[in-house]
Amino acid sequence: MSGPTFQRKTYYYVFGALIALTVLTVGISFLDLGQWHIAAGLTIAVCKAGFVILFFMHLLHSRPLTWLILGTGLFWLAILLALTLSDYVTRHLGAY
């Protein structure tokens, strides 16, 4: 529905943040973070995705139902990942 949107300025700021985070994520990949690369990369990715969803996809101005749909999708994705991984990270302990 056509409703209030953000100012053009806001979009440019968000874009700037996205580029900065991209540079950051690529940059830190050259540092020796050991096991933490994935966690760091995912954290930054979540921030970037958050910016895109909240501002570019107008979630901040959307009704609660939209939040619910997004939340439901994410929750189901979490179920898929968590329960599948529960097998893979414990398989070495013994399988049937």
Binding site: T5, F6, S29, L31, I38, A40, A45, V52, F55, L85
Partner: protein, 236 residues
């Protein structure tokens, strides 16, 4: 403070473009809400399509960290990084296009839609180049792959092939979605040029804008998960 493009009382007063109001909806605003909702629901299903791939990838990454990290370091981060910037820029042009539609700025709308479509095409072109460099670098299982080079660094070449299959399927599925989006944007640009959209009725632009941003978000996650899971030594 936000610019108000429209209020619901305005859309109730303006007659919808002929043929645009479906017979089972009360008014255009009602219809537009439903359509946007439908796209969000569709995006939730898309989350799960990619989710299946993420689940498989996570499973094998947990089993074969060494091979996955070694293979990840060999991907072309230069192109991957540039492509990320390209796609982010296309998201900017997309949201500005939606804004232009809300304001009724016809020329801006058409230009921005074409730009979005073009940036997507640039991504695909760079991706094709990247696939070619992967081929030259012996990173294509079944086509160009040298198991010996991996054994020499004490990494299991079979597990490297698993990583690479995920790499090609995930980026491939993303590219298919992007291609679809590129075509849609071009079609929307043509429709916009033919004055199909008004500030009261431009749901298609908003709806497919959401789709475009989703494709961007998938890439936002593919970048660290495929290219950046270990300390990078080289850019490409």
């Amino acid at each position: 403070m936000s610019e108000i493009a429209n209020t619901s009382s305005q859309s109730a007063q303006v007659a919808p473009p002929p043929g645009s109001l479906w017979h089972h909806f009360e008014n255009l605003e009602h219809q537009n809400e439903a359509t946007t909702l439908g796209m969000w629901v569709f995006l939730a299903t898309e989350l799960l399509i990619f989710g299946a791939l993420f689940a498989g990838y996570a499973a094998y990454r947990s089993w074969y960290p060494a091979a996955f990290e070694a293979a990840s370091g060999r991907l072309n981060l230069l192109i991957g990084g540039i492509n990320t910037v390209v796609l982010l820029t296309s998201s900017l042009t997309m949201v500005l296009a939606v804004r232009a539609a809300q304001l009724g700025s016809l020329r801006a709308l058409v230009t921005l839609l074409i730009l979005t479509s073009l940036l997507g095409t640039v991504f695909l072109a760079l991706k094709a180049v990247e696939y070619y460099t992967d081929y030259l670098d012996n990173l294509v299982p079944g086509l160009a792959f040298n198991p010996e080079e991996w054994r020499q660094v004490h990494v299991n070449p079979a597990h490297v092939q698993l990583f690479l299959v995920f790499y090609y399927v995930m980026t491939g599925l993303h590219a298919v979605h992007l291609t679809f989006g590129i075509v849609i944007m071009a079609v929307l640009a043509v429709m916009a040029w033919r004055r199909a959209f008004t500030p009261e009725h431009h749901t298609a632009v908003e709806m497919w804008g959401l789709y475009w941003h989703f494709v961007d978000i998938v890439w936002i996650f593919l970048l660290p998960l495929l290219y950046l899971i270990a300390t990078r030594k080289t850019l490409m």
